[in-house]
Chain length 528, copies 2
């Protein structure tokens, strides 16, 4: 497929803007063709109106139609073959193996939502039958289920050019809910976005869905994003990226005459606590796992562990030396784009300037600026310095971590208590450690969305029981996840039907339960 | 019990503020003793800190403890006997019958949440077992459930001095979730609030819960409310009241360094569509039901039907005459407080000033200002006038309704499409009407939280399947309800445990499923 450098307003290609930008190969700095243009106000308006029109159709479609669309999108993405991985690699330097794996995850994710839609219980149907004889007042017949909210804008991430991008988790969960999607492409991988949007458009056509169910708009400026968030036809926003950008969209959405929810996943520092027993027994093994997790994808994961807390002592000394050695042996890696690398170096420098913080190790091979490389970096400090410097708990996006040494269990708890919201926290410990540090677990439960025991936070599983979210500033809505089947809950709201005739009810709420979905009927869960 | 005119900081009475106000008997204008004082910044801070301390305890309590507390609160409110109804009636003039009924609903609501907590499935537990052999990567063990967010501030409503006040739906659902509650009392019924808070405090003591699980603060100024919303220990806000006040709290919460959710239920106009067949067959009966619904509680319900849409013709002419006659025969009623009555008269005057709007009827007996009375009022207009004047779709809180006559099905749909978000919409029709107006139903589904067929919107049932919410401006979060068991979802967020040892997991996520709750295990709903 030849790239045209265009937006998709539904199936229609458009590229009317004057302002031009290109994808860049970060490993070479080379400009990639074709040129992409900023979406114009008119293109934004057309996409939003088309999404609103598509919503009227999509919301009324039976589950099978939505499942067929999701399956077909997965098939069309698979059918893009090597061209997709090649372009994605040219734009991100994440490597063909990782990108093939990410494609698999993306397609699995689409199919996971297809199966969820087919099964149908996700609408959380509830029925309370009428009690006409009840005193003093009869009870009416009440039936409630979740319905889609309307057009959703999804801001693609830079670090997952497939799985959190054009046909990623937001699109899969949004379409499953019945919401058309307008994707704001990430400017670091416009060609990858165009390829995937073409696959989606083809799937939409082949499954005879309304052509407006997905649009794709390019843009580097804040204006494109803000105009989308402010458009009156848009009813919800999903975002994965930086705190600053996420908060700006959140603020803009809340300032609308009709505020809309912004589900922004803004990353975090993902603290790791290594308890004394584990440090003693498995220090070397944990050091290796930590190094792998910190440097995976050149540290460009929302769940990259940026803080590691241990207690002073010989075992921790050995552990620190092991991590330092592994970090030094780690080659520098090419980051996604120049801005991310600059921010990484700024972050590293800001840490290095803090009195009491020691840069303990860095990749021995020098980072090649022409290849946009960043070195793996290890800092160490003590608990008091950490607690005295807010800065140290903030995310440095990239392959860097800070090892904090406390003197006591109380220090560990103080550190935990000082934390803002994070996506994850990790505890390494023996069963006895865990018993002795119940207080720490209780604190961390209040700080994060996912607690990991004896593992590492990177590598998240899209499934039913996962939660990828957390208290602010990890996200703007701690009740929601961006990954896993419950991600669909972002884009729905309940509607209750009172005393409706059977024929006028959605199938999910009819007496016969034609889809055999799980429902709460008069207080009992049942599929009857 | 003697009223002391004090706040409750947990169990501690306090009244340090200088600024004083009283409850007023709206039926006589008489000042009611004792005096109440504005909460001071220090009292607000103490209440918030005590709630945060109580949270550490409450979140870890087994379901049985929370259920016992809720049951005991209900019992203590019952034990207040006539004194509660008398004081509530003196402060609101809602009448002993209605207030006794509201007390029953309040206690039933508390017990409903007690049963929900005991049953336990509300935590939405999900388990995906590990797949250690999976290729290319093993799957970890993931277990997710809902946990409480922390201290909640609940702004009591004026119109439900018991059911949406100190021990009302927010408190019941918040405590069920495991969140301590700080109630900002409504200044129109401070004595009622004090009585109920004393009952709650007694229940807290008797069930040996942490004393900080409920605090009660009085205040008339915006400052008390805003200080509560801005307090860093507060993690969520629930509110029932006006759009202006709700939006102000929402904006303040979003402007915090750490934004928190505001679940504001801000009322609505609750449009009623009377389709031609129903108008023909049951016009008189609908007119009676409408009059009852409009004048119930002097029109002071969030679900009072303020817009009625019909089609021009003889049947509608007869219907209009019948409604007019019934409205004229309705006696004026005492409103909750002077400010509400003034706002009602302002609203009525603003409607009367619109060219094309006709004040078709008003209570024949004159409204007595010394008794804070408002007359039942009926306006009529045509579809075009309605569509041309935004003002007419806004709520006039009180016993007033506007009958809009359209010329065609298209007019009805245009009116429906022009609506903002509402809590409810009602359709009166025959099965054939409903078939012919599918388009109307599809539009209304996107505008409201509850759709009623051949009934009236007032009189909401707290149960599993109800939804009392709706798109903005009905609420600030269309995904949530303030009434019914799903109200608990406002105050929780998911936490996911990865590879946790059994002993460190909450009971709800352990293999044995000790509470026999419904869980989604490897994709299957089960109680095993």
């Amino acid at each position: 497929m030849r790239l045209e450098g265009s937006h998709f307003i539904g199936p229609d290609r458009s590229a009317r803007g004057g302002d031009v930008f290109h994808g860049i190969d970060p490993a070479s700095g080379k400009r990639l063709e074709p040129a992409y243009r900023e979406a114009t106000p008119d293109e934004i308006d057309r996409a939003a109106n088309m999404a609103a029109e598509a919503f009227e159709d999509l919301r009324a479609r039976p589950p099978a139609d939505k499942a067929a669309l999701l399956d077909r999108i997965a098939a069309e993405i698979d059918a893009l073959g090597d061209a997709l991985v090649e372009r994605a690699n040219a734009e991100t330097a994440l490597g063909p193996q990782r990108l093939s794996g990410e494609r698999t995850r993306t397609c699995n994710q689409l199919r996971m939502f297809a199966r969820m839609v087919e099964e149908g219980s996700w609408v959380q149907a509830r029925i309370d039958h009428a009690l006409p004889q009840r005193k003093p007042l009869p009870r009416p017949d009440l039936r409630r289920m979740l319905v889609p909210v309307g057009p959703v804008v999804s801001f693609a991430s830079s670090n997952f050019p497939l799985a959190i991008s054009v046909a990623g988790n937001d699109t899969a969960s949004g379409l499953a809910a019945g919401c058309p999607i307008i994707v704001k492409a990430h400017p670091a991988h416009p060609g990858t976005s165009e390829l995937v949007a073409a696959a989606v458009t083809k799937a939409v056509r082949e499954t005879r869905m309304h052509p407006g169910v997905l649009s794709l708009l390019h843009g580097r400026s804040h204006e494109v994003g803000l105009a989308l968030v402010r458009h009156p036809r848009v009813k919800a926003v999903a975002f994965t990226g930086s705190l600053r950008a996420g908060r700006a969209l959140f603020d803009a959405a809340n300032a609308r005459p009709e505020p809309i929810p912004v589900f922004a996943e803004m990353g975090s520092t993902n603290p790791v606590f290594v308890l004394p027993g584990a440090m003693e027994q498995r220090g070397r093994q944990i050091a290796e796992g930590l190094k792998n997790s910190v440097t995976l994808g050149v540290g460009q994961f929302c769940t990259c562990p940026g803080i590691v807390v241990g207690l002073e002592g010989d075992a921790t000394k050995t552990f620190t030396a092991a991590v330092a050695e592994l970090i030094e042996a780690s080659p520098p890696g090419t980051m996604l784009y120049e801005g991310i690398r600059r921010a990484f170096f700024d972050g590293v420098q800001s840490f290095a300037r803090v009195r009491g913080v020691n840069m303990a190790a860095q990749s021995k091979s020098p980072a090649d600026e022409s290849k946009n490389q960043a070195p793996a970096t290890l800092f160490t400090t003590d608990a008091q310095t950490f607690l005295d410097n807010d800065l140290l708990s903030h995310e440095v996006f990239g392959p860097s971590t800070l090892l904090v040494k406390g003197r006591s269990k109380q220090d560990m708890e103080r550190i935990a208590r000082s934390l803002e919201g994070h996506l994850t926290a990790t505890i390494h410990g023996t069963p006895q450690d865990l018993e002795e540090h119940r207080g720490l677990v209780a604190i961390l439960e209040q700080k994060v969305g996912r607690l990991i025991f004896n593992g590492f936070p990177t590598g998240i599983e899209p499934c039913n029981a996962v939660h990828h979210g957390g208290p602010y500033p990890a996200t703007t809505d701690a009740r929601t996840t961006s990954i896993g089947t419950t991600a669909v809950e972002r884009f729905v709201r309940p509607v209750c039907y009172q005393d409706f005739p059977q024929a006028a009810l959605p199938a999910e709420l009819r007496d016969g339960n034609p889809g055999k979905i799980w429902r709460l009927v008069d207080g009992q869960m049942t599929r009857e």
